[in-house]
């Protein structure tokens, strides 16, 4: 009866179906994009020619400037685009559901009426979201590693580890934002808006910052920029960027705990 982490286990038990769905989505995206690189990549390839015909602003906005290298291709197609969208949606959905969603559906009141502290509820549920996101980042890294050879991407292990850490950092930031806003307001819609909003804002700031040197400073204010502006898949870990991603997430996690402890819970 007194198995450890009852809240964490319940949370994981409730969400394994959704985790399988997100895993399948990520696997599908990687298997769709990466094997295309040999036929598209290279400086004289069709892809390179197509990209040369696009407006330079668009190329910069999409981060396609380095798309003709294996590392640039993997980052711009997966980690920076479809994979980014997938992990942000998953993180926001899970982060919103963990506290605000449970409060709106009436479950949180009864859980908190039992012998658990609010801190413990916030910590175990936050940990559950983090574990699921870590699985998605790990799965992505493993699949990229597996496809590295067959797709002739020419990636190194340190680069894959570095980009996975940055990828997980972006997911964690959206999740902790959703958790913090959900714990502060008890409203799922605000939590979702905030989790997705910080990701969109970061993407937009980064895209504008890409346009010209004078706007480059904007990327320093973008979580997306913290994660990817130094192309970790090619150049290895950007420690300052990772510190910003995980540091901000840690602050938001503390905000989550404090906010939940202080507030009246809706029934």
């Amino acid at each position: 009866m007194s198995a450890p982490f009852p809240l964490l286990r319940r949370s994981l038990g409730d969400s394994w179906r959704s985790l399988i769905g997100w895993s399948a989505g990520i696997a599908a995206a990687l298997f769709l994009y990466l094997p295309l690189f040999p036929s598209l990549g290279g400086a004289g390839s069709q892809m390179a020619k197509l990209i040369n015909t696009l407006p330079p602003q668009l190329i910069k906005a999409l981060g396609y400037a380095q798309i003709t290298t294996g590392g640039g291709y993997t980052e711009s197609t997966f980690y920076g685009l479809i994979g980014f969208v997938l992990i942000v949606i998953a993180a926001t959905a899970w982060g919103s559901a963990a506290i605000a969603g449970d409060e709106e559906s009436g479950g949180l009141e009864l859980t908190l009426a039992h012998a658990v502290s609010r801190t413990r509820v916030a910590v175990e549920r936050g940990l559950s979201v983090l574990l699921r996101l870590a699985w998605l980042a790990l799965l992505s890294g493993l699949l990229v590693g597996a496809l590295n050879g067959p797709s002739a991407l020419g990636l190194g292990l340190p680069g894959i580890v570095a980009v996975s850490a940055a990828y997980l950092g972006l997911g964690t930031l959206s999740a902790t934002t959703a958790l913090a806003v959900g714990a502060s307001t008890g409203r799922r819609v605000y939590a979702t808006g905030a989790g997705a909003g910080i990701a969109i804002l970061g993407y937009v700031l980064n895209a504008i910052g890409n346009q010209q040197k004078s706007l480059e400073v904007l990327r320093a204010w973008s979580p997306y920029g913290w994660a990817y502006r130094h192309t970790p898949l090619v150049h290895g870990a950007d420690w300052a960027g990772l510190a910003l991603l995980y540091g901000t997430s840690a602050v938001l996690a503390v905000v989550t705990v404090i906010a939940l402890r202080r507030r009246d819970i809706a029934g």
């Binding site: 038990g13 559906s105 009436g106 479950g107 009864l110 859980t111 009426a113 039992h114 009246d264």
Partner: protein
């Protein structure tokens, strides 16, 4: 001698925006009693209970539950309480049994087999998914999780809502057993018939204030009984003369049916004895005295509370 109190509030207030949900509630619930709080919807019953569980925090005043302030009692205090929320919403693919395991993992020690015993008594299938259960079955599941760890204090918000009469009887039996074991029960209702069978004491709450605290026996003393008697060999005038002398009689109606009998219908407030003595002077062919309706007496209290 003063009995130890299971819960106590002093000038407890709770404000939501500009609404005063609790407006200075003073209550003392002795340990080992079944204490009912009744009042119309919006009277503050649910707010009061949620403050006791530290789900929400009071704006003013004090509360003590099992000797601790719910604000600081934390998990150690809530381990000793079983709670049924007023608006129980249970969802999901999880089975009843798995949900109870979860709650058992975050509450006090549960005796092996308790969940099955309780579920069987209430007629609940624990292997069904929670999301597919009817309202009544969800309510049963909510009751099972509240009773599961045999807590010292049960806080039950509208416990019989959605239960059919047979299950209600079983629930009342559970309450009696809990009381016999020394557990304290604090329950709310707007259905007074539920209180009158289960509770020993009753507090009437209205607009966030306690209007009166009374024992159920005392309420019974002031209870209104409906009486119908068919009399033989007496005229309407003769009957009226005697019956109007009965203490506490009102709403007297006499009709000459079924002929040749005379039917007298009236209500008696308070003791029934005078009525019985007076009727004994007649030839009584038929007599119906309805179970005292505490609902009517309490509604009168509501009314007095309003006009006071």
């Amino acid at each position: 001698m003063t009995l130890p109190l299971a819960l106590e509030t002093a000038a407890l207030g709770k404000t939501f925006g500009r609404t005063r949900a609790l407006d200075g509630v003073d209550l003392a619930v002795p340990a080992g009693t079944v204490f009912g709080v009744i009042g119309p919807n919006g009277a503050g019953k649910t707010t009061l209970m949620r403050v006791l569980l530290d789900v929400i925090r009071p704006s003013s005043g004090e509360a003590r539950v099992l000797g601790s302030d719910p604000r600081t009692g934390g998990p150690a205090l809530r381990r000793r309480i079983g709670y049924l929320p007023g608006e129980l919403r249970l969802e999901g693919r999880i089975t009843g049994r798995a949900l109870l395991n979860y709650y058992a993992g975050i509450s006090g020690e549960v005796r092996p087999g308790s969940a099955d015993r309780l579920a069987e008594r209430l007629g609940l299938d624990l292997d069904r998914r929670v999301g597919t259960l009817s309202k009544g079955n969800k309510q049963k599941l909510g009751l099972v999780q509240a009773f599961l760890h045999e807590p010292e204090l049960l806080v039950l918000d509208e416990p019989t809502s959605g239960l059919d009469p047979i299950v209600q009887q079983e629930f009342l039996a559970l309450l009696r057993e809990a009381r016999d074991r020394g557990q304290t029960v604090f329950l709310s209702s707007h259905v007074l018939s539920e209180i009158q069978q289960a509770a020993t004491d009753v507090a009437v709450l209205r607009a966030g204030r306690v209007i009166t605290v009374s024992t159920v026996d005392a309420l019974r003393q002031t209870a209104i009984r409906h009486v119908r008697a068919e009399l033989e060999g007496v005229t309407a005038e003769g009957a009226r003369r005697v019956l109007t002398g009965i203490p506490g009689l009102s709403a007297l109606e006499l009709s000459a049916t079924p002929s040749p009998r005379l039917t007298a219908s009236f209500t008696i407030t308070g003791p029934i004895d005078g009525c019985v003595k007076a009727l004994a002077g007649f030839t009584v062919a038929e007599l119906v005295v309805e179970e005292p309706d505490l609902e009517e007496s309490v509604l009168r209290l509501y009314h007095d509370g309003e006009t006071r």
